[in-house]
């Protein structure tokens, strides 16, 4: 056995023994003898429902949990030790303005034994004492509890870290930035409990802070603080973080535009909820900055369905632009992906059937001149590193944020608009030109009859012709073989 192993073994034994000792300690605590006087107090105070009423109407239950008290570090103390002036035969009537005032008074009881220089050795207490000098007194029981103060052995004094932090942060604390802005440090515990992060402790996000440490940090402004705080998200959501790095918002931020949104601007902070299925919220988030586009979108088929009918099938901003790796929508690469984006829904029968829309629109685009060309441009980019040129995609005719339904629109009006769209690439085209495109229709006897008939003719003629020629060839060979 090496010396190292030996050391380890000894360490292990010590741990084991101390564990036993601790347990014994607990057993002792439970067995702690409660003084007769205390037993008399508890006759009333172990009953639920007895309340003390403050001057301002607030109430406080005077119930004491006997079990917790027995387990507490103060189980050797009798009631009058803390509650001076009270005894078996004295129960003075006292008045307090409010619950808060009462708690502050009660804290002084603790300080009778726990002197300032003793408690100041813990940094968290030191900072609270500093606060006290400024007039904001801490309440011991907020963190430690009153009748249930637990032993420090084992490290955990508090039932939860959250309770500990909320001891201060449920009050209207206030942080002042260098530029004079203020941030309320009050945290809404109920919102926190409803958030997706309700299983996390405070220090999981606010790293560096704990019951031991409460570093003082200085930020120039509220915005700087938000940007810095967002950094914490990447510790868990690293995938999203790297995606965001590819996005325009991050690029803006890196350029020095501090108004570019960071995680918390869209997701919030303590009240983060899942917004995946609250699509209206997503749109509203983007509106914070992109107001004009929101106005246009809200009038489109997609936007009005979402905002008026709360339709969850329609695309919201992030369906096309993505949420984190938002690209520049004016690039060729982005343009090449547009038909796919539209196809996500418009080629999905399950969705389209609900609205009586055809799923053939994507196919008819992709098998026509523009669509085929686009397909090759995409392949070229991938395989030859040779990007194509700008070519018409869905949005060039239908628009982007302003897409409207073509149902019931006057055909002439529609065509007139279409010519303008064609002219973006095909200069000086006449009004006839848009008819070159069969508007997503399959040629039929009613729609584009000439196209349909020519196709039909060849469909019949080609096989007949080929069959005739092959037959002649076969006969010719047969004759040759017979003649030999």
């Amino acid at each position: 056995m090496t010396g190292f192993m030996k050391n380890k073994l000894i360490l292990f034994c010590i741990c084991l023994v101390s564990l036993f000792l601790c347990r014994d300690g607990h057993v002792d605590a439970k067995k702690a003898v409660i003084s007769d006087e205390t037993v008399i107090c508890l006759q009333c105070h172990s009953k639920q429902g007895v309340v003390f009423r403050f001057h301002n109407g607030e109430t406080l239950s005077v119930y004491v949990n006997t079990d917790e008290y027995r387990m507490s570090v103060h189980n050797f103390l009798g009631c009058p030790d803390c509650h001076r002036g009270f005894s078996v035969d004295k129960h003075p009537k006292r008045r307090f303005r409010s619950r808060k005032q009462y708690k502050l008074q009660a804290s002084l009881i603790c300080r009778r034994c726990h002197k300032n220089d003793e408690i100041a050795s813990k940094p968290i207490h030191a900072s609270l004492l500093a606060e006290e000098k400024k007039g904001r007194s801490p309440v011991c029981a907020d963190c430690h509890g009153a009748h249930s103060v637990m032993p420090v052995t084992g490290g955990k004094i508090f039932i939860s870290e959250k309770k500990y932090c909320m001891g201060c942060h449920e009050y209207e604390l206030d942080l002042t930035f260098k530029n004079g802005e203020h941030l309320l440090l009050k945290t809404d515990a109920s919102a926190l409990a409803r958030s997706v992060h309700n299983k996390l402790g405070c220090s999981d996000c606010h790293y560096g802070f704990s019951s031991e440490d409460h570093p003082e940090r200085k930020f120039r402004s509220m915005r700087d603080y938000s940007i810095a705080s967002s950094d914490t998200c990447k510790r868990c959501h690293f995938d999203k973080y790297t995606k965001t790095e590819e996005g325009v918002h991050c690029a803006e931020l890196n350029k020095g535009n501090i108004n570019a949104p960071v995680c918390t601007d869209c997701h919030g902070s303590h009240a983060i909820t899942r917004i995946r299925d609250k699509r209206t919220l997503i749109v509203k988030r983007c509106r914070n900055c992109h107001r004009e586009i929101y106005e246009i979108y809200s009038k489109s088929v997609h936007g009005s369905a979402l905002l008026i009918d709360a339709n969850q099938d329609v695309p919201v901003c992030i369906d096309c632009h993505k949420a984190h790796d938002i690209g520049n929508p004016l690039t060729l690469v982005y343009r090449e992906q547009i038909p796919e984006m539209c196809a996500n829904c418009h080629a999905n029968r399950l969705v389209m059937d609900k609205y009586g829309l055809s799923t053939d629109v994507v196919k008819s685009y992709l098998s026509d001149f523009h669509g085929i060309t686009l397909g090759f441009y995409k392949k070229q980019r991938r395989m030859l590193d040779k990007p194509g040129r700008q070519i018409a995609v869905c949005t060039d005719c239908h628009g982007t944020h302003n897409i409207v339904s073509t149902r019931g629109v006057d055909i002439k009006e529609l065509k007139a608009k279409l010519v303008k769209r064609c002219r973006k690439c095909h200069e000086n085209v006449t009004g006839n030109f848009p008819d070159a495109w069969l508007s997503h229709y399959e040629p039929g006897i009613r729609k584009a009859p000439l196209v349909f008939l020519v196709n039909l003719f060849y469909k019949i003629f080609i096989p007949l012709m080929i069959a005739g020629l092959v037959l002649q060839i076969v006969l010719h060979i047969w004759r040759y073989i017979i003649n030999r």
Binding site: T430, N432, F461
Partner: protein
Amino acid sequence: MNDIRDEKIRRFSNYRIIEHWVLLITFIILVLTGLSQKFYYLAVSQWFILRIGGIDSLRYVHHYTALVFLSLVTVHVIVAVSGIVFKKWRPSMVITGKDFTDAADNIKYYIGMKDHPAACDRYNYKQKFEYWVVLMGAIVMIASGLVLWFPVFATQFLPGEIIPVAKVLHSNEALLIFLIIAIWHIYNAIFSPEVFPLDTSIFTGYISRERMISEHPLELERMEGTDTGERGADIGVDGIEAKS
């Protein structure tokens, strides 16, 4: 017997030889660059198109080869028409009633209802069929191809629907001529037992007396009957002897 196989008779002038070469090359290029667009979804087409350097390069090749093809056809038509009008060439490619009876007779011969094949003149009905398929096809391809190439121009005079019509015409006609040439012409010029492994007449300009006797007896008769042995001397630019 050997001498009629060895004896060569002039059949095509150099102009025809060059014309056929140009046709052959442009046609193959147009078919490759055209049909790969028609069947764009096939793996071979995609491989080919990317090989050429992408869809734009492919179309570039198609368009400029089409220009050569267009010039060839135009020159051919001008030469043929003016040859017949001014130089009094025999209109040997014109389809006549005899071609239909020849075709019927030949089929009867194949199935054993006659004991010889039809006696043909300079071009038999198969060759005439091919010629007209290519010529008419070329006109359709050129007309529809130009509409597709210059759609903005075309719709200044014609309704917009002309573009998809031109597209289906061009696309289907391309497939039709391609199949006819690939099956019928290639069989007749390469795989037919009479000419296998290759009918060299359009490349060398000469054909054997043996084949003249069996395939173009009427032409041979006219040639031998009128001249004194100097065959080919009065062969016009078309390879068609001038009517003297």
